[in-house]
């Protein structure tokens, strides 16, 4: 579903991502881990069409993000760490706006929007302006609108910011259920316990290079001492030299 070949991005003399090769299968829950500044966000920006790679290629659902960006974006859902919402729209108007961007007919988006707002417990607040929502509610509305167009792949960047434990639990269950239904999830997170719990496979990026790739158990086996994913991550991402 997501394929990346020799993907690199340089900002002047600094290489943020270097020759990344990766393939995420349909229905796979992939967690992308790495310390701050490792190149996770740059990779995500290239996968969502926000950045042009310096070299290499990326495909989503078989569509090249460089040459067929609209086809690729139609199949992607993106949840950033700090979602953008228009504060002066109501929750329902926001859903309608997103449906318009994805060219969804009313008979398709309306029932889907109702269902998603119900799932994220926002049905009672749909007529309120977003400016009156709490941070957690905004995050949930962003989730709901991301799934509105039934994407085939969802790219999630640290989605837990501002969510309380109950909502984190709900979002985790929702994402897991979606992956079981065939949705491909590419999630960047610093929460290693959640990655350990959810991921089918984990990729660790460090200093712009993909250092390790495998199932959680395979990654754990790389450490000199067996332990949690957190301990293994700390050992694998120790600065060289």
């Amino acid at each position: 579903m997501i394929r990346v070949e020799q993907l690199s991005k340089a900002f002047g003399p600094k290489t943020a991502v270097s020759e990344l090769d990766l393939e995420v299968e349909v229905g796979e829950f992939f967690c992308f881990l790495g310390p701050n500044g490792a190149g996770k966000t740059t990779t995500i920006k290239m996968l969502t069409g926000l950045l042009r790679p310096t070299s290499g290629q990326a495909w989503v659902a078989g569509f090249d993000l460089q040459t067929q960006p609209l086809e690729a974006k139609r199949r992607i859902g993106y949840i950033p760490d700090h979602p953008f919402l228009y504060p002066r729209l109501t929750g329902w108007e926001w859903m309608e706006f997103v449906a318009g961007l994805y060219r969804m007919p009313a008979e398709r988006w309306r029932p889907r929007a109702e269902e998603l707002l119900e799932t994220f417990e926002l049905s009672a607040e749909t007529d309120q302006l977003v400016e009156h929502y709490s941070h957690g509610m905004r995050q949930k509305l962003s989730f709901a609108s991301t799934f509105l167009h039934e994407p085939q792949a969802v790219i999630v960047d640290e989605p837990w910011v501002g969510l309380d434990p109950k909502n984190i639990h709900r979002v985790k269950a929702f994402l897991k259920q979606q992956a079981q239904l065939g949705l491909t999830i590419f999630m960047s997170t610093h929460s290693l316990t959640i990655a350990e719990e959810l991921a089918d496979r984990v990729g660790i990026i460090h200093q712009g290079r993909l250092r390790h790739l495998g199932t959680v158990d395979e990654i754990k086996a790389l450490a000199s001492h067996p332990g949690s994913l957190e301990n293994v991550f700390l050992e694998l991402t120790q600065d060289e030299g």
Binding site: T42, G49, I76
Partner: protein, 569 residues
């Protein structure tokens, strides 16, 4: 049901937001809404009366038919004045549109969201372009309308003239907006090739070249010779070039005013075609070059800042003597201002216009020998400088508190009082604007060979106006703080920004009036039958101005501080 178009979705969302914004006015204090509305009406009415008087005087001045040609010199001057103003407005709109386009197309928070949606870059551009055209042209529509209505009344224009204006202005404004957008798109596309520094040099050369050209044109004017009106009309004639879109707009206006809609049709058609071609061209270009430019800009934002460390060091030295917390606040504000090209480039433009004005002024002219002319020119100098200052404080100082944005809680929780935050922004504003405005007043006064008293009055007026307008902007900026918005253009476009602009203009009118009365005291005294001794009028005038400045500065600051202190974070 047919699928909704993304462009329709964007416009629908924007119109809904505007509607919700209007509805939210109901939650605002009625007094606040009434004061802003009344002030806007008064400003409009004041401008209308002023323009009406000036245009009426021009008609009387040249009302009789000249020679055998049978046309009125007043009509000739009015026509050329319209053309010159329209041309000046055209270039101002080009510049302001290029900056607003940069902010709305590349810097606004929603851009990242929109770019992840499956909408083409052309659709994205159109969705954002109309917003930037509106943001860059609404103020000139508001300030230009009293002039055109006054013109219509003086020319006894039929009702179709006023209806025609509703079509002419949007079409006219779209052309510089499209040109400005093309400049912004092209500049950002060149970013990876030229680099940030190269782009800055190219922009400086471009704007500087433009200023030199204008200076060359204006230098032909010599108000001191007998042929000054003739020369002035000759220079103004260049604004009537038939290939200029501003002239098409003026031709359509003049024909409609003369009651000849059929004669207005060809220039209106040209405007229509030029606006369509301009917007179309910008849209096509955006499809090709927007994304590479956007992507390169992300690289600049993520890349290392060469020289940033040394410039930070210099700035630290400058602010070093200040006590904390002012040092940290000033350091942060200057750094953020310098890192936002949309901010500092507009600031430079304002002072560029002032500097151009000062540079164009001749060092010696027979006209300066006359006390009356010297006083009049000094008064106009002061008024022009203060009007630009009013625009500056509205544009840059008013949004400063709002621009603390979602980080305002940092200030709210820090052991700093809002009084200190306001004081820091007030004095930073006063120092930044006074440095330039006092210098320019001094230079122009020197060139005019004003006497010590006139220089003193001019400098004093500029100094107290700086304080009053900075206090007004910071105070109203606190009272109408909008922490949700991070685009300064939008912050200024709100109710508070409008009120700030109107009150600033009103202060400038009063300050200029006092300055004018003192500089022309002999005439005023003769007209009023008072003594020509300057001691009492100077003491009363400057004392009254100081009191008014203090009230204009401190009342809004106090009201604003009360509002900030009640904020929850």
């Amino acid at each position: 049901m047919s699928p909704r178009g993304p462009l329709r979705a964007i416009f629908r969302a924007k119109s809904r937001m505007a509607r919700h914004g209007l509805v939210s006015l109901r939650r605002e204090s009625r007094l606040k809404v009434a004061v802003v509305s009344l002030s806007a009406v008064l400003l409009w009415w004041g401008a209308f009366r002023l323009f009406g008087g000036a245009l009426g005087w021009l008609q009387i001045f040249g009302g009789e038919a000249v020679g055998t040609l049978g046309f009125s010199a007043g009509n000739l001057i009015t026509g050329r004045l319209l053309s010159s103003l329209a041309l000046a407005l055209f270039w101002l709109l080009v510049f302001s549109s290029s900056l607003v386009t940069f902010a709305t197309l590349y810097r606004a928070r929603e851009v990242r969201f929109l770019l992840t949606a499956p909408i083409g870059y052309r659709t994205f551009f159109l969705g954002r372009f109309l917003e930037s055209a509106l943001l860059s042209s609404w103020a000139s529509a508001f300030l230009g309308s009293p002039f055109l209505v006054a013109f219509g009344l003086i020319a006894e224009a039929p009702p179709i003239f006023y209806l025609g204006l509703l079509a002419i202005y949007p079409l006219f404004a779209l052309i510089p907006a499209a040109l400005g957008a093309i400049i912004a798109l092209a500049a950002l596309r060149c970013l990876p090739i030229l680099g940030k520094r190269g782009l800055l040099v190219a922009a400086t050369v471009g704007v500087g070249g433009f200023f030199v050209f204008i200076r060359g044109r204006l230098a032909a004017l010599d108000p001191g010779t007998g042929a000054s009106l003739e020369t002035l009309l000759e220079v103004m004639r260049t604004a009537e070039h038939p290939a200029l879109p501003s002239q098409w707009a003026v031709s359509a206006i003049l024909e409609l005013a003369a009651g000849s809609p059929s004669a207005a049709a060809p220039p209106l058609f040209l405007l229509c075609v030029a606006a369509s071609v301009g917007v179309g061209l910008a849209t096509v270009l955006a499809g090709w070059i927007f994304f590479p430019g956007w992507s390169a800009l992300q690289g600049v934002a993520s890349g290392q800042r060469k020289g940033a460390v040394s410039s930070r060091g210099i700035l630290r030295k400058w602010v070093g003597p200040l006590p904390e917390p002012y040092r940290s606040l000033v350091f942060k504000d200057i750094l953020l201002f310098w890192r936002d090209p949309a901010q500092w480039s507009q600031f430079l433009l304002f002072f560029g216009i002032l500097a151009l004005y000062a540079a164009t002024m001749r060092r010696s002219s027979p006209a300066y020998d006359a006390q009356l002319w010297r006083g009049l020119i000094a008064m106009l100098n002061g008024t022009v400088g203060l009007l630009i200052l009013a625009t500056l404080t509205t544009r840059f100082l008013f949004p400063m508190i709002s621009l603390e944005g979602r980080r305002a809680w940092v200030l709210g929780l820090a052991p700093i009082s809002w009084r200190q935050v306001q004081r820091q922004k007030l004095w930073l504003g006063v120092l930044a604007t006074s440095g330039f405005t006092l210098l320019i007043t001094l230079v122009t006064s020197y060139r005019l060979r004003l006497d010590g008293f006139s220089i003193g009055v001019s400098l004093f007026t500029v100094a107290v106006t700086n304080l009053a307008l900075a206090g007004l902007a910071v105070g109203l900026g606190s009272l109408f703080a909008n922490f949700e918005e991070d685009n300064p253009s939008r912050i200024v476009s709100g109710m508070g920004g409008t009120l700030n602009f109107i009150l600033s203009m009103a202060f400038v009118v009063v300050a200029s009036g006092i300055q004018a009365a003192l500089l022309q005291w002999r005439l005023v005294a003769r007209w009023g039958g008072w003594s020509s001794d300057l001691l009492w009028p100077a003491s009363l005038g400057l004392g009254g101005l100081s009191l008014l400045a203090a009230l204009t500065c401190f009342i809004p600051l106090r009201l604003g501080r009360r509002r900030l202190e009640k904020l929850d974070f």
